[in-house]
């Protein structure tokens, strides 16, 4: 621990001091801060730190073990590389927000109890939304608003579930739970939102492409992978996750093939990759959990790399729409090569990090006998290759020359991309490095002839499928469009339904109000007529008629009295 602060809190508090430095000093400060946090992490042995009691519950703000460490390490590395990538960006809001976001992600990973987790959960939501709003467009504002609402909602579900859970079990420790009570369902849903489960995923594919060039690189690393960690910690071996994960690997690639905005394509493919991790968590064996953790580690790096390369294109060219791009390998060769490394990693090419990680999960599926799921995931690997591995580099850098020419990406972006690409290759070529970090002991060799040849066959023939379809003009052309996803329900269907109901109810309600008003007015009127200044009973009468009426009344009284 540096300065007596837990690793995540160090970055959050340090972020607040960042605006006081200028230019490259600020960037250097941020890098030193992250380095210090990482070094502090390396000094810690397994265990719980800073534990204290609150209202009879035991809090565990920092819990170190192999599962949290692998995520903690990669979060620091991702933050470090992303800050280098963003060195040219001196917008203080983005600098503070990105560092605080990274810090809260790290803090959340090491949270040993639900209160600490909830605290960092909400700080993550609040800090990250500024990376979306910083883009400055109308769309970014609206998208960020939807993002914030959904993220806060997941926090509310979390604390509600945690409180119920504490009431039932007497402890707020964040450990393995059995899915079944209302409390665990609420927590499960909260994790599911952040993990982009089917129907809960729209916030991610909606908001990530709307964020700034550098913001999206940060966004892609933390929230979703924290959710994977949370599921691995809280619900390992929950069979439902296998099916949810399998669904998550398939339907996003359908959208990734259609989408025109290449960063949205990457967001959908992020969703697909999360599916593999969720399946690993669902299987729950040590091999599967190792696979999920290793995949998360590798994925953070190669996904950041892909977002970095697309961010560089957006930064230099001004657009990231596939319909408007092409031929950029001539202007941005370094970016192109790094993008290809990222694409190879995500497609699980041998010698790249994705291969080493995905093989674990696939083998775990095989051992446990989930043949159908294995087939679905193999289909997803081939599909992902077409939807991202080919699509991203092809439409941005190759394909038909768009005529756009620009400079290569700035030196800091190139540096970040090259280092990340190197890491992807190193992790892929030397599997023991990644395997030494995973939670359980590994006795697995990914580089068997069968695995290598099989994977190469898969991508080679998926590639041929792509070539055939393009040559036969069957591959859908990229053009500008919006594609309807589940968010149509709450962005279009429900508002329209509410408007329709109101269009019937509102005039009716106004009518009722008007009729009641008229009724009351009529009543007041008739009273006024009788008792008002000109009314029969309140008028001033001439004395003569008063005397006459008094005589009549007395006469009537006499008659009634004597009869």
């Amino acid at each position: 621990m540096i300065l007596g602060l837990p690793p995540g809190l160090l970055l959050i508090i340090g972020a607040l001091l960042a605006p006081f430095l200028r230019g490259y000093w600020r960037g250097a400060y941020m890098l030193v801060l992250i380095g210090a946090g990482f070094w502090g992490l390396l000094q810690l042995d397994a265990g719980v730190y800073y534990g204290f009691e609150l209202f009879g519950y035991q809090l565990a703000p920092v819990r170190i073990d192999k599962l949290s460490l692998i995520f903690g390490y990669v979060f620091h590395i991702a933050a470090f590389l992303s800050v280098i990538y963003a060195l040219h960006n001196d917008d203080p809001i983005q600098n503070v927000a990105s560092l605080a976001y990274a810090g809260s992600g790290i803090g959340a990973v090491f949270a040993g109890d639900f209160i600490t987790l909830f605290f960092y959960w909400e700080v993550m939501a609040i800090s990250s939304v500024f990376l979306i709003w910083a883009r400055g467009t109308e769309r970014a504002y609206a998208s960020g608003m939807r993002y914030l609402i959904i993220q806060i909602m997941s926090g509310v579900l979390l604390i509600a579930g945690a409180v119920l859970h504490a009431h039932q079990t007497g402890s707020i420790a964040f450990d393995k739970m059995e899915l079944g009570t209302l409390a665990t369902w609420l927590i499960f849903l909260s994790f599911g939102i952040k993990c982009a489960f089917p129907f809960l995923h729209n916030w991610m594919v909606d908001a990530y492409p709307e964020a700034t060039v550098t913001g999206t690189v940060f966004l892609s690393a933390f929230t979703t992978k924290l959710a994977v960690y949370a599921l691995a910690r809280g619900f390992p071996g929950t069979e439902m996750l296998i099916y949810i994960g399998a669904a998550m690997t398939v339907f996003p690639i359908l959208y990734a093939v259609i989408e025109n905005d290449l960063r949205r394509v990457l967001a959908y493919s992020l969703n697909n990759q999360l599916g593999f991790m969720v399946v690993g968590v669902g299987i729950g064996t040590s091999m599967a959990l190792n696979g999920a953790a290793a995949h998360a580690f590798a994925h953070i790096l190669y996904k950041s790399l892909l977002f970095m390369s697309m961010g560089a294109v957006l930064y230099r060219v001004g657009t990231i729409k596939a319909s408007d791009l092409g031929g950029l390998y001539k202007s941005m060769p370094i970016t192109m090569v790094c993008c290809l490394v990222g694409a190879a990693s995500i497609s699980a090419f041998p010698l790249f990090s994705g291969f080493v990680a995905k093989s674990l999960t696939m083998s775990a599926l095989g051992y446990e006998g989930f043949v159908i799921i294995w087939l679905i995931l193999t289909f997803a690997v081939a599909g992902e290759f077409i939807a991202s591995g080919i699509k991203i580099p092809y439409f941005a850098f190759f394909a038909k020359d768009s005529g756009k020419r620009c400079r290569e990406a700035p030196w800091n972006m190139c540096l970040a991309m090259i280092v990340t690409a190197a890491l992807c290759i190193i992790l892929g070529a030397w599997s023991p490095i990644l395997y030494s970090l995973v939670p359980y002991e590994v006795k697995y060799e990914p580089y068997t002839t069968s695995h290598v040849v099989g994977q190469l066959q898969l991508v080679a023939f998926a590639g041929i499928a792509f070539i055939i379809l393009v040559k036969m003009r069957l591959y859908p052309r990229e053009h500008r469009s919006t594609v309807l996803d589940f968010d149509w329900v709450y962005r279009r269907a429900i508002p329209r339904a509410i408007k329709w109901v109101m269009s019937i109810v509102w005039p009716g309600w106004i009518g009722i109000l008007d009729d009641t008003k008229a009724l009351l007015a009529g009543f007041a009127d008739s009273i006024m007529r009788r008792h008002g200044p000109e009314g029969v009973l309140a008028r001033t009468w001439p004395t003569g008629s008063t005397a006459l009426w008094v005589a009549v009344l007395l006469g009537a009284l006499l008659i009634i009295y004597y009869v």
Partner: protein
Amino acid sequence: MSDYGTHNIPPGERPRWLERPGNVEKVIWSVIAIAAVLTLADFFYHKHGDTKISETFGFHSWFGLISGIALVLVVKVMRRLLNRKEDFYDPPAD
């Protein structure tokens, strides 16, 4: 690939390797050749896969081909149903 060509290139730039006629075809044929070699490689080693079906001859080859084709054809249908104009969700310009 049939869309590559020399349109849109700013004047004064010399054509690159991929733009010269016939070179893209060379790339495509090499991919096909590599794929064929990979499939035939299945004869030369004992296959040990994650599942029984993946141990059959050339499994990953034909599965990859079918996956790719099926994916894109399904996507074409989906696109017809789900595509809208780019400004679909944007508030009406007032």
